[in-house]
Structure formats: C-alpha cells, structure tokens
Symmetry: C2
Subunit: 253 residues, 2 copies
Amino acid sequence: MGTTQLEPVPEPKYWHLRNLLGQALDTEFSVGEVLPNERDLAARFGVARATLRQALEQLELEGRLQRRRGVGTTVAPPRVGVAVGTRRHDWPGTADDVWQPADCVLAAPPAAVADALGTGRDEPVHTVRRSRGTHGLPVAAELLYIAPSSVPDLTAIDAPSGAARARAVLRELQRGELEGQESAVELGSAGAEDAKELDRLPGAPVLVVTTRYLAGGRTAALSVATYRADTCRLTFGDSGDVEIHHGPQTRAS
Amino acid sequence: MGTTQLEPVPEPKYWHLRNLLGQALDTEFSVGEVLPNERDLAARFGVARATLRQALEQLELEGRLQRRRGVGTTVAPPRVGVAVGTRRHDWPGTADDVWQPADCVLAAPPAAVADALGTGRDEPVHTVRRSRGTHGLPVAAELLYIAPSSVPDLTAIDAPSGAARARAVLRELQRGELEGQESAVELGSAGAEDAKELDRLPGAPVLVVTTRYLAGGRTAALSVATYRADTCRLTFGDSGDVEIHHGPQTRAS
DNA sequence: CAGTGGTCTAGACCACAGG
DNA sequence: CTGTGGTCTAGACCACTGA
C-alpha cells in the first residue's frame, strides 16, 4: 500500500521545482517579499535558468508570484474576487464606480459582434471602452458594443467621442428595460492594447468574459471584457463572495 | 504560409510569429489539419525552435492549436461551450448525464474546505469524484465535498466507496432543499492527478470553478471543478449559449 | 523503427527600474 | 551605472506515437 518509491519515470524538473518553490512560498515567505533573482535561484537548485523560469511561470500563472522586469520576483497577494454577473438583469454601469469609461466612438464592429447584435456588418454601433480597477490596480479592460436602436434618444450630446460621450451613452442605455443577460468565460491572451492597459506584457493570460444583454427580445448590447488572470478570481452567483482559496493548483503530484 | 521575413521591430519575435501563424490558421488551414513539425516551422521562419514553440504555446493557450507528443500539431476546433451555473438552484447531478461519478469516500477535506462547510478540520465529509465529458472527450474533473449532515439518510448503502456509493450520495443530496449557489472562476494549473484525467500534461492550464451550495442557511456542499482551459468556454446565464467567438485574443497588435 | 512534441542546457543580449 | 526579468539561440536528449 502506501509505500514511497522512486518513480520509474521521474517527473519533469520544472514541475518538481514548482512544487518545492510553492511549498517554500507557504512556509518561508510572506506577501510582498522579494525572492532571490532567477540566476541565483537556478544555481541554488542546480538547474538552467530556463528551467527555473518555467517553474516561476507556472507559479505566476497560478497567481502566487508577481514578476516585474527590472525589479524582481515578489510573492503575490491572494487573488481579488471580482463580481461578474451578480446583480442580474442590470445594465452595465448601473451603480458603478468600479468601471471607468474611457472613450466612445461610433464604428463598425467585428463581424461576429455585428451578427450577434443583429446589425449589418458595416453598420456602425456605439463602442464604449471602459476599464476597471480594484485597490488602485487595473484588473479589466472592456469593449462594449451597443446597437444604436438601444439608445435612441442620443440627441443632446454634442461630443462625438470621449469619456463624456461614453457616460452619456451608458446613461441612455439604462433607460431601457433589460430582460436578461448571459456570459461566457474563456482563457485568452492580452493583445497589445489590452496588455498596456492592464500593465502586463503582450500575451499575458486573461480571462475573457463575453456578456450579451437582452432587451426587447434581442441582443441590445454586447460586452467583451478581459480580466487579468493572474490577479483576478471572477465571482458569479446569487449572493456574496466565495472565499475558498483551495489554491489554484488542484491536486499536486 | 511560405514567408520568411521578420523585420527588426521592437515587437518580440514570438509575438510577431504568433500573429503570423494565427493569420495563417484563419486563411490557409482548416480544423484538424496538421501543421508542419516544429523544426521545419522554425527553420522556415528563421528562428530557434524555442522561439517558435513560444508562439505555438500562445496559440494553444488560446485554443487555436492542439499539440500531442508523438503525433504533431493540429488546428483545434472552436471551443465547446460548457454550461456552468445554469439551472440555478439545482443540486449537482439533477438531470445529468454529463457528469459521471467515479468514486466516493468519507475523508477529512482540506482545511479551507472544512472551514467553508463549517465542519471540524478533522471531521470526515463525503468526497465525490466525478468527471465530465463532451463529444467523448474529457473536459472537467470535479471534487465534491458534502457535509454528512446534508445527507442524513444514508442507511441502505452498504458500499463503502466506489461509483455506486457516489450515485447514492448524490441521490440523497437531491432530497434536500437548495437555497442558492455561488461560483467563482479562476485560472489554475492541472495537478498530476487532474492532468491524467483530462488527458493533459501536468501544469496544463485549467479553469477552476469553485461552487458553494447553500441549504438550511449554511454551506451544504462545495465543489471544486477543473475544466480544460484550452478546449472549454464556460457559460453562465439566464438562458442559452453565447455564441460570440470574437477570438480569445482580444485586440491584436 | 522513425518522427513528433516535451524537457533541458549554457550561454548571449536586450529592455527596463532604480539609485 | 548595476541588477532585474524578458527574449533568443543552437544545440542535446527524452517520451511518446504510430507504422
């Protein structure tokens, strides 16, 4: 039964290293503390720097480490819970200070978005760019597509674009009746534009939340929001937060 | 796809390569098709194999490629939408053929789980292991923790463990009244055990869905499910599917 | 068996942060 | 400037698949 034995096929070094480091993080380091640099760590474990980096990459993906070029590797705080899809049947921006509108233009959206909105492929829609922060740190960037028919009374706005116009469009959108919404979450990587806004490098892992807002029997608006996967835990549900932090790696070797 | 040019832009090579390959996937390849092997591709683009691999890694993370050792790299089908958190206020396994119970034991859970369930840290709970598949492929592995008090009438079961017992526990659980549920989604990496079950290598990216089931004013059960991040799109919401496949990379360079 | 992707090495140089 | 992480190279060998 429970015998410890040498594996006939040893597990990869980077994986073993990840487990060792993860254990060390639990016992010997506290949040915010800086680790030794990669070259020292690699030497200490007797592996090449690339191998050590592969282990650090894993831990960063799991939200346990934070690496910044020119600075160093630090122990990351627990992921922040970010409410997504609570307050069901609420239009975006209803009681919001978390989202900060940045811009709004009238432009033709990607074809897939146009199809979902039921607008023509070359028909311009309101495109709102917003960003979301928590504790002063950026966590999400969003692109909100709103069919013109959903915000009919957009008369008194003279600004053709900019944050002021974004706020006006959102205000107008909230006058409509929202019937439902549905979301999907998938893994993606930050494009150059989002990466800059999220203070990450291009290709950084993000959780892409696509939400469709239903009103008047059709899709009235559509949001594509990208959340930093390293720092965020997205919460859905009927009530408050889910506080289990069982750790993002599920069952170790 | 026969190009060889890589201008000296400040953009990292692997990122540029990712964009080139992604574009090629859209225009010159169809789902299931196998790409040239990594050594050939690297030579064709005039980069080291490691650099080429970094680009492929990105595309695999975004669900556009599938790589299998000993076989090759193929163009992945679009991600499958997996319903999570629909049919609100339903116990797990209510009308399920998607989840397949594998085992059930009575054991002390991790400390964080015991705290959430409100049981003592050394108090054993029912621990059900299930797996979920779609189109014959495994997509998720779950660990379900159920407080013994939530399934009081577990008398007629003689099996101390196994799939039969798992089914019995789930059946008993559904006799209770579920008041609500809340979920959280975060990025993690598959442990050795999950990796095998999901047919991936250890460290593979997974979406970890933690769900708390509320009944009788407290947490009656708790689920930690890990979904393959490369093949799954998790859907939440009031109604059907969200079909936008805007592509997991949000806005390219 | 031959061919594939997965792991690993030991270097090099670059981009950036901070003093 | 020094020190950090980020990128990149050109190899090597291993583990696995399928013929």
